[in-house]
Amino acid sequence: MQLSTRHLLGIKDLSANDISLILQTAEQFKEVLQRPVKKVPPLRDVVVVNLFFENSTRTRISFELAEKRLSADTVNFTASSSSVAKGETLLDTVNNILSMKVDMVVMRHSASGAPHFLAQHIPAAIINAGDGINEHPTQGLLDAFSIKEKTGGLEGKKVAIIGDIMHSRVAQSNIYLLKKMGAEVAVCGPPTLIPKYIREALGVEVSYNLRETLEWCDVANVLRIQLERQNQVLFSSLREYNLAYGISRKMLDSLHKEIVIMHPGPINRGVELDSDVADSKQSIILQQVENGVAVRMAVLYLLSERRN
């Protein structure tokens, strides 16, 4: 058994078997992270470069920790302090790094499709750590892992993705993954932040009513309002957004059942989630972060080269 792909560019390219294999392997790595020595040797002959052309805290640290706990050597690259600022092209930058004998590339880029472009031109294995508004596959995987861990499975689970669906690569990766694994998915948010034909294109339910959606779902994955990707006014004010689509303690308590609250971070407290919701027992936001390292270890391990 092995993955059907050499790169992890998006969940779109993965089969249900691939996803199961990654999640199952991540369980073993999660156990490794509980040991006195939280480190195993399988990637000690592998060099990984983390290319971050866009800001990131969680994902970059999570990948770096995952690489170190697999004993890989790591090189970090951030666009702001590099020759990209001098006008070097993406392909030149990457080829220069690869000529220093790097085996795997983890890349985040603001342009959708940047990792797909690289995959066609360079020999190294590429892991997409978020490309524009396209996909963020490891986030989708760690969200699925966390749902599975908390609720026991994915099949038949009702998952609502709430907020800025239009600009969210996390939403897209989650939708692909959950649908492939047999979960039911609904998206909810203001009409201006939900793509018009998403129901037809991705097979998800669409709702503009937060209360209705929360009553329906087992798990609510709440997204951040991505002000940096919006160059036009799509809702009138953050306060108004909070009133219509922010989740408050009072609303959660008035539901007929207890639902699980997730958020990929960083949280805008008081906008999409109130503080007492984000910090409540129902929230698995910090478990998601913890699981992120195990899931990324699984992806790196499964994609590292076999020379037979």
């Binding site: 058994m1 480190k39 076999r306 020379r307």
Partner: protein, 175 residues
């Protein structure tokens, strides 16, 4: 196919292994038993059951170890990991590693590396059902042996377990 141990012989052998382990580890409180994934745990399950039967009520510390991430052939092909479950500290303990077949010794080499990441045991012993002697590639010898056999490289030892294979037997297969 040649039978090495029949079902009834296998049951007697497992009982003997359990007794030999008890003989050398009279203070069970200071001893932990660890079965190696994936196929060693069928043997270790039965050894531990036999020990528990001998001393009902005593707490036998028993764990399972997967050595996939420590293998020396990790670049040759993809190996899928199994569950590791060691819910106690091995620091200062006497550890008995349990596996079904000892052949080249490479699995045990990896197991020793993996084990030391859980702490510093006082002593490590090795218990195997079948010892394919004269075929070692590492300087590793077992402390408890179910049966030692002579075999050649082209042969394979296969241990069948009821829980997995619907019958209990050890056989030598020719290719």
């Amino acid at each position: 196919m040649k039978s090495i141990l029949t079902e009834s012989q296998l049951a007697i052998t497992i009982k003997r292994l359990a007794h030999q382990i008890l003989e050398n580890n009279s203070e069970l409180a200071n001893t932990v038993l660890i079965g190696l994934q994936p196929r060693g745990i069928y043997l270790s399950d039965q050894v531990v059951e036999a020990i528990r039967k001998e001393f009902p009520g005593t707490n036998v510390q028993y764990g399972k170890l997967d050595i996939t991430f420590y293998r020396d052939d990790i670049r040759k092909e993809l190996h899928i990991a199994n569950q590791t479950d060691i819910p106690f500290s091995i620091e200062g303990k006497r550890v008995v590693l349990i596996d079904d077949v000892l052949y080249t010794g490479r699995t045990i080499r990896a197991a020793l590396d993996a084990l030391l990441d859980f702490g510093r045991p006082e002593k490590v012993e090795l218990c195997v059902l079948i010892d394919r002697r004269f075929s070692r590639q590492f300087p590793i010898q077992p402390d408890y042996v179910g049966k030692a056999i002579d075999s050649i490289v082209s042969q394979r030892v296969k241990v069948y377990w009821k829980k997995k294979d619907d019958r209990e037997e050890v056989a030598l297969l020719d290719y």
